[in-house]
Symmetry: D2
Subunit: 134 residues, 4 copies
């Protein structure tokens, strides 16, 4: 069992979301934030950085949005459905845009390929979470 | 002139947003994030913390969302209108929900009164920004 | 292979640190940040919150410090040994202080027990990283 | 009076630090974080990005460290002197290294000049804060 799941199990009240889905959502957000931070760093280090300017900055935006979403989803106390939905929707948009851009460089740069996959996984888990909210 | 404005002026290309509005938006996000972090901390220290549980956690969510939004708005490179709109809308929601909750405690706790004002200011500036995007 | 390791492998230059150790450090930072965010949230929700005030706020500090450290360690470009050492040392301190406080509540609260373990793991990996720097 | 100072005044207990110094420290951290985020973004957009690779990534590190420090300093509850000292020292290092690098490009790029000043100011305020702790 992961630490994320163990912490959810130890929470002293019920969670709004089903625990498996919530655990998966938090973990893909955290994972995607780290991948995007790494991809931005690798982009900047590439010799062809001029082709990767948009990719690097979308990665930085996506990292910030995934990190904020991972924190908001981690908090079960004071849950507000409208706020959580808006935050997760913004995360979906950030992952979609960043994933699309990384995809364009996936054949040339392995870091973009791995990062695009992390973005897709995060986007789809967040979409599942929004569906579960309605 | 503030540093935020000086940095926007020094950016080596045009910005999508009008500079006064963008400067104000970034600054209210950053200011609101700091106020919310302080309000959560004060809530937890109050003797009547049991009345402020929801307030403290919404403050933490709002701080994270304002900080992420302030960073996304700071980046002019790789601008994506759909993503920025979704991020700023999530910030509006976080500020609205957190501002409402802080308002409930504003007469009792000065930190909630000051924080509610910071949330309102950030919410309204973000709403102006969304209006400017469409 | 984890995404963190895959991203390090795809980085277009050498890393200063040995990859297994660096991967483990980044992952324990990210994991500890999430556990601390969850523990603060659970603390605030406990009926005996008044006993957990210090724990909740140290958790918030430790989450912020672990997140910043995870990001700094993720970046291989522009590596500065003195800065990285100071950042990782601050992370060690945050994990030590937070882990000690969580330990005091570990028998009473399962979330504190799990979080204390995450703090210890992060502290020790960061200590290994500092040793590798010198 | 700034919001930061108003929130400190409304805190329901004494602060460890003198309020003027603490307010200034929090504000320079927050200000420096925003300037560094903007400078990284401007660096990436410059045609001579290849000269600014190190600058951009040190800016990102410094932004993360200043943001974490600003949050830790904002929290008065559960104050731990050893942890705060280590965090603020890491912030001093990040600002020193980033300020030095920005200085190298200050004559060529106005954003580096403004950012170097923000780094110096943050470094010096943090040094004053460490001196006040001992």
């Amino acid at each position: 069992m992961t630490i994320t799941m163990a912490m959810l199990d130890a929470y002293p009240a019920d969670s709004v979301f089903e625990k498996q889905l919530l655990t998966r959502s938090i973990q893909t957000c955290v994972e995607c934030a780290q991948a995007c931070t790494a991809c931005a760093d690798a982009d900047i280090r590439e010799e062809m950085i001029s082709d990767l300017v948009k990719c690097a900055t979308l990665n930085l935006d996506c990292a910030d949005m995934c990190e904020a979403t991972g924190r908001v989803l981690t908090r079960q106390t004071g849950f507000d459905a409208d706020m959580v939905r808006a935050v997760v929707q913004a995360c979906v948009q950030a992952c979609r845009v960043c994933g699309d851009e990384c995809d364009r460089h996936a054949q040339m740069h392995e870091h973009c390929r791995v990062c695009a996959e992390a973005c897709r996984r995060c986007q789809h888990t967040c979409e599942d979470l929004i569906a579960a909210l309605t």
